[in-house]
Amino acid sequence: MREKAVLLGKTKSLVGIITNPEVKTDGKKVERPAVVLLNSGTLHRVGPNRVYVKLARKLAADGFLVLRFDLSGIGDSQLPGSAASEGDARFISDTREAMDFLSDVHGVNKFILMGICSGADNAFSVACIDERVVGVNMIEPFSFPTTGYFAQSYSHSFLKLRSWKRLLTGQSEVWGIIKGLFVYHTSKETRQLTENWELPPKEKLISDLRALLQRGLNLCFIYVADGCGHYNYSKLLESEVSGLTIQGNPRFEFLEGSDHLFTLLEHQTWLTTVIHDWITKAVFGAPQKQIHEEVI
């Protein structure tokens, strides 16, 4: 496995690691798009629990050129003192500059973007405006808090033996949960939380999604259910786009029992296996099919 540190971007202020593809001898002459892994929150380019490193090496072993790099102000990359743009806009321009670098240096003109959490959101945003993107794998991306989400979230608590024990021993949190449902729906903090995350309006997301599918992009949404987060309702999104699905694209995967960052080893293995399966089918044109039952 050959890996190389690179400086990229217009001012060479972004730091990345290129993982070069291993030569494939299976006779398949498919030109593979390069894969770009995008920072998850403020974690640097190795990703949570180093899962980006594992993923890059796994994909490179299968013939993909992979870049994982730090956006401005994250990891080893500088935050320009006179940044012309802030936040999301800067991250989008950073990502496009990373794609420019791969085009200039490695002659690649097609890209698959991937990321966890904010990395997923960033990947989606770039795909919407850059036609070089042919695939997006979004791990724990945006979603919309609804009553269905809360019902799903709290049903975990109601079904647990521990919850009933608490109820019977007078330590029940049921009233707290009921109260919390109302408070959460209406609180200033909730509004601030969603505003800070800059969740796209649902109608905008569906419209963008439709446009990406019409462009022929391969898409994959991966969600987990940690029972306490903002993310456990992929079915809602899945139902919104079910009418658009062709041969399993977009693909939806859902992992029970994992946290937001796939911390446990078995969950990391599941994640890299699902992504590898998705990208292989996306590049070689095979129908997408959920595999999580087999993996677990």
Binding site: R45, R50, G73, D76, K160, F262, L264
Partner: protein
């Protein structure tokens, strides 16, 4: 932590020092898998890094700065190499057995917080093992028997010598003040400085162009200690 180290490197470089940051085998960007890593390998990596910066900078001696386990490895390296002039130990891991116990407790706590259904299994037998493989796992990292034993073998209070001329110990947690380590190094006739920098106050929003929180106060103390002022 990565960003804090980057910031520290910039501060040290601005002070005129050559700086090298590196990842141990199986960590960060470096080659290898964590499950194949062990303490002996990491000490060898550290030795390679020392030789590299000496060669690149035309230096005869180096200062080692380490956080937690990195500080422990730096202290161990100073027992055999004569070219380590200064040690800066930031919240060092003094006792490996205690460290493993803390990591296991953290793993159990993590599971209780994130995966309450699975946490009971772990806490009942006191083990932090991956459910599928049976291997020891601590918060997403596989711990090989060799690494486990190597970590448990670390006891800085049993170091019999250090060749470093100057040792600085910085602690940031009230419950983990390493004054006994200071006293131990002093008993070895080392020149030791000890400073407590409150952890709860030391991580702050950095000014200037860096947006992420970094522990400004302790980094400034480390720079001062490293440049020898």
């Amino acid at each position: 932590m990565h960003r804090a180290y980057r910031h520290l490197s910039v501060l040290l470089a601005k002070s005129g020092l050559h700086v090298l940051r590196f990842d141990y085998y199986g960590c960060g960007d470096s080659s290898g898998e964590f499950e194949d890593a062990d303490v002996e390998h990491w000490l060898s990596d550290l030795s390679v890094a020392i030789d590299e910066i000496k060669d690149a900078g035309g230096l005869s001696t180096v200062s080692l700065i380490g956080f937690r386990l990195g500080a422990s490895l730096a202290a161990l390296a100073s027992t055999t190499r004569t070219d380590i002039s200064r040690l800066v130990l930031w919240d060092p891991v003094v006792n490996g057995k205690q460290y493993i116990a803390e990591l296991r407790e953290s793993h159990g706590e993590w599971r209780r917080n994130h995966l309450p259904g699975a946490a009971d299994v772990v806490s009942d037998n006191g083990q932090a093992k991956s459910e599928n493989s049976g291997k020891l796992e601590i918060i997403g990292f596989p711990i090989s028997p060799k690494l486990h034993d190597g970590l448990e073998g670390i006891d800085l209070l049993k170091i019999k010598n250090t060749l470093a001329e100057q040792i600085h110990i910085f602690d940031s947690l009230e419950l983990r003040k390493n004054t006994d380590l200071r006293d131990h190094f002093a008993s070895l006739k080392a020149n030791v400085n000890y400073e407590f920098v409150s952890g709860s106050q030391s991580w702050s929003q950095s000014g200037g162009s860096d947006a992420l929180s970094i522990p400004d106060s302790i980094l400034q103390s480390i720079v001062t200690a490293t440049i020898g002022e």
